[in-house]
């Protein structure tokens, strides 16, 4: 019983997420099911970034690279090798390919620290953006349409509700993995590196290897998110690689709670809700968003998770 009250919010949120499509249909707002899928996918992206930034202390401004790359893998395979388009094939492929990309990028970027690292991750993501924009064979500037969602067995993936549950399942699996990771040997070392990298080195930890591993895991997870987004939208846009998407993901992380397991998802929800509400007020809603973000940075840097932490005292 105590478990239930302590984790009351968590339980309620999980039940809500499970029941959402039914609730939406019940009030005649089916449209919101695909919105919810999009929120979950953004949550996955933000969660992967949170592993990098919140747990590992590596501020990357290039995470969009992996998101977009995962999406393009799906799009390109659908075009050039449609026999591999089935979800159980193309999704692991997207994850693996993005993981390899993250390994290469990380191996170069992680030789730097601090301000250099931020700028280099940004530059790499932009490099990828320019490469894909110039690939006329894959849509270039206009992007690449996806004829249909990656088939999964006999499931009707075109049905928004079915797709929502697929996304929810994958997100849940990733969260379980990350929860275990956090408390594992690896997770503790990663948090230790964020705390005091020099001391960790002198204790005998090859810190670069750990950071690179985290970078790859985060990148691969972002690739999965990208692959899912391509499926959700039926479209791959080069804007998925553009750096303001990296910025938006970072904003979600800070809104939701840096370093906490749920921070990414919470932040995605808050961000989308904010966007919905603010666009209702004015077309210049980004000014208000900017002001809110400044407020969070200066007055509530721990985000939503910080509010919860205070409450539990």
């Amino acid at each position: 019983m105590i478990w239930l009250t302590r984790h009351g919010w968590l339980v309620a949120a999980c039940l809500f997420a499970l029941a959402f499509p039914m609730l939406a249909t019940a009030v005649g707002q089916d449209f919101y099911i695909s919105v919810a899928s999009r929120v979950l996918i953004w949550g996955l992206l933000a969660t992967s970034l949170n592993l990098l930034v919140g747990t590992g202390g590596m501020v990357s401004m290039g995470h969009a690279a992996f998101f977009g790359f995962g999406a393009y893998v799906v799009g390109i395979i659908a075009l050039d090798a449609p026999q591999w388009s089935a979800a159980p094939v193309v999704l692991p492929l997207a994850i693996a390919a993005t993981g390899i990309l993250a390994f290469v990028v990380g191996a170069i970027c992680l030789r730097t620290r601090g301000v250099y690292f931020i700028m280099i991750t940004l530059a790499f993501a932009q490099m990828l953006f320019y490469i894909f924009v110039s690939l006329k064979g894959y849509g270039g500037d206009d992007g690449l349409p996806l004829a249909k969602r990656s088939p999964l067995g006999t499931l009707k993936m075109a049905d928004d509700t079915v797709f929502y549950y697929v996304v929810l399942t994958l997100l849940a699996l990733c969260l379980v993995f990350l929860a275990r990771l956090r408390d594992s040997r690896f997770g503790r070392v990663l948090r230790g590196i964020k705390d005091n990298e020099i001391r960790m080195e002198s204790l005998g930890y090859a810190t670069l290897r750990f950071k690179l591993t985290a970078f790859v895991i985060a990148g691969a997870m972002a690739g999965l998110a990208g692959a899912l987004m391509a499926n959700q939208n039926g479209f791959v846009s080069p804007n998925m690689l553009y750096w303001d998407l990296s910025g938006t993901a970072l904003v979600m992380v800070i809104l939701g709670g840096l370093g906490s397991l749920w921070g990414g998802l919470a932040g995605a929800v808050v961000f989308m809700v904010l966007e919905e509400v603010l666009t209702g007020f004015t077309s210049h809603w980004q000014i208000i968003l900017g002001l809110i973000l400044l407020g969070v940075v200066f007055f509530a840097p721990k985000g939503i998770a910080g509010l919860f932490a205070r409450k539990s005292r």
Partner: protein, 251 residues
């Protein structure tokens, strides 16, 4: 025939125009407690940095058990058996005292590339951590956040971390820095207890402690080792006395 565990040959390091380490050749015999003393600004911490691997010397070499380790990074030297404590406390502030020691133990007990099992379940690590904390006198504070410790407790934790990696060589950089008389006495007892089991290179300003603990003493002035010898020889050495004029601290 001395069995030198640690040896340096003509180690040199400059920072721009400043010569921090000037052709330092010294030897630390296996099992001894070798103290390194010198006035402020002599370059002691810089030398420790080059020994532990966090600083690259400009020239010269560092040998460990006869093997040239100059090109090895800090974490590689740690795996060979180096441990270092820091003059300015450098611990994991966001972890508990027990977790700090656990982290150090984990480094030398198997792979850390394990992603699934909770590390808190590893009773082996926890018991070992408790034992080490008992040894340095921090056991009652095991669950305290490292950030919230007093200065003296921080210094004790530094030693605990150095012990936890089960080193052969301990590089202790001013372990007694900023400690009061009672705490210093405890620290002296602690280090005295390490003698024989570990090889210790001890940098210290506290002369009482140095003369009680050291088997041999090297004196570093302006980056150069001006003399090495037994405590009695150093105590009566005129050059050492003049280098220390006005610098000697006794507790």
């Amino acid at each position: 025939m001395t069995a030198a565990l640690l040896e340096t040959r003509a180690l040199c390091k400059r920072f721009g125009g400043l010569v921090a380490t000037d052709a330092v050749s010294l030897e630390v015999v296996r099992g001894e407690c070798h103290a390194l003393i010198g006035p402020n600004g002599a370059g002691k911490t810089t030398l420790i940095g080059q020994l532990s691997g966090s600083l690259r010397p400009d020239s010269g070499s560092v040998l460990f058990a006869g093997r040239n380790v100059t090109q090895l990074k800090a974490h590689q030297r740690a795996m060979l058996g180096f441990a270092r404590s820091y003059q300015i406390t450098s611990i994991l502030n966001d972890f508990t005292v027990a977790e700090n020691v656990g982290m150090a133990l984990q480094a030398v007990s198997g792979s850390s590339f394990r992603f699934w099992r909770p590390v808190a379940n590893e009773t082996g690590l926890r018991d070992e951590a408790t034992a080490i904390l008992r040894q340095v006198g921090l056991e009652p504070l095991a669950e305290r956040q490292a950030r919230g410790l007093s200065h003296g407790e921080h210094r004790q934790l530094e030693i605990a971390l150095a012990l936890a990696t089960k080193p052969q060589l301990m590089l202790l950089d001013e372990p007694m820095a900023g400690m009061g008389p009672e705490e210093s006495e405890n620290m002296v007892q602690l280090i005295a207890g390490l003698k024989g089991r570990y090889t210790v290179l001890l940098v210290e300003h506290d002369m009482d402690a140095v003369f009680r603990l050291a088997d041999r003493i090297s004196v570093l002035v302006a980056g150069r080792v001006i003399t090495t010898g037994l405590p009695e020889e150093i105590r009566t050495n005129a050059a050492v006395k003049s280098a220390y004029l006005g610098e000697e601290t006794t507790n």
